[in-house]
Symmetry: C2
């Protein structure tokens, strides 16, 4: 047996930091399992510690509180969702914008359905851990939004659809849209109020569709929501000049 030398992987991390990171990951992994198995209130520090052969106070060396753990999880979920959508996006050739958008939207729904509890944490009502936009969760959320911004920007450049002029928009709405564009880094030169209006409209429809399915509000009345989703897609995409293709 030879003594293991410092591996180039995890370059600047000492051994101590590595094992620390490992247990932190184990905590989050177990927490996630409890989350999907028993819902958000089912995540308990004591249960996690028990399963790890530890005691609850020990976990406080890794997270400042239970809310802190959940915040960290939401950040992870955002990046996981982002990667999932991005993978779908990049699975198609660069110039197939229509296909990439379609794949991205479907990937969003697919991830949400495969990870209901996680989705609820990300897009559900702001629970008592309302400070969900903390500890990287906000940045992760912004990176997620950036995907759709990029795709939408491409559509804008290609002039795929008719952008409503400011005259068609109420002044109050314009102010809100300007704030929106400013907050998201868009300059008023790059993108018009009308463009932001169309983007939000699309996003709201997609969000409502997926939320309704994940939260199962039509479940007693409609078993399979996929046909509805696929039927709504062309309607949504048409407003941004994207052509629909069957899955």
């Amino acid at each position: 047996m030879h003594v293991e030398e410092d591996k180039p992987t995890a370059a600047a991390l000492s051994r101590r930091e590595r094992v620390r990171e490992a247990t932190a990951q184990e905590i989050k992994q177990i927490a996630r399992r409890h989350l999907v198995e028993q819902g958000p209130p089912g995540v308990s520090l004591r249960a996690i510690a028990r399963e790890m052969g530890m005691t609850a106070p020990g976990l406080y060396r890794y997270f400042n509180s239970l809310d802190d753990l959940l915040s960290s999880l939401t950040a992870d979920f955002f990046t996981e969702l982002t990667e999932s959508v991005q993978a779908a996006d990049q699975s198609l050739p660069e110039d197939d914008v229509d296909g990439r958008i379609l794949a991205s939207l479907r990937a969003f729904r697919t991830w949400a359905l495969a990870n209901r509890a996680e989705f609820a944490l990300l897009f559900g009502p702001p629970g008592p851990h309302q400070r969900r936009h903390e500890g990287g969760a906000l940045e992760a959320g912004q990176r997620f939004a950036a995907i759709f911004f990029a795709l939408f920007d491409r559509l804008l450049q290609e002039r795929r659809f008719e952008v409503p002029g400011d005259a068609e928009l109420s002044p109050v709405l314009c102010r809100q849209l300007e704030a929106f564009a400013e907050q998201t880094g868009f300059t008023t030169e790059n993108v018009s109020n009308g463009a932001m209006r169309v983007l939000t409209s699309c996003w709201v429809r997609l969000y409502g569709l997926v939320c309704m399915e994940v939260f199962q509000h039509l479940s007693f009345v409609m078993a399979d929501m996929e046909p509805l989703f696929e039927a709504e897609l062309p309607d949504i995409l048409r407003t941004v000049g994207v052509s629909y293709r069957a899955p």
Copy 2:
């Protein structure tokens, strides 16, 4: 002092039943206050009992469990929301269908914003009390849906918009829509699959719009969502042949 005789009010209820009902109402009222002040996890039997000058086990004479209490609350909220929307509906003359629909949709949003926590309970993710469709909550939810069904039915009779034929719908979607219509009491004669398709589309958009606002998912990027709501309304209503009017 004369002995109080049986009052005609609360006809068939004995005195005992009346006071019982009163305390049950008091419990729910306090629970609701805790709900709006501290969110769903902030509702605790012990805290409620404490505030009432009781002990926690006493509450079990009125509700079988905490979940039971919450279920009962959701039922109440559904009927309250229903009454709120119905009041808006009936505040306009019978034949002003457009105005009534517009008022109903706005009332839905208004109630949701004025009762965020309650709305989250009704339309948010199914928590561990996933059996929210119990104890009258289901019926109350159906009564709520019935309002929109009635309004929509009127639009259908007036042939306000072009109903897509089955040929334009995928077969799988048709099956789901048929199940939908059947579950909701519509007969296939009264309403076509295309009609159900349009209805669900509208509902999903409204739902997404209000959910996004109540759950504050654009709050960091858009302070006031009302202009967006008012901007989306005409787009939604146009698909069912209803004309928009400014509020």
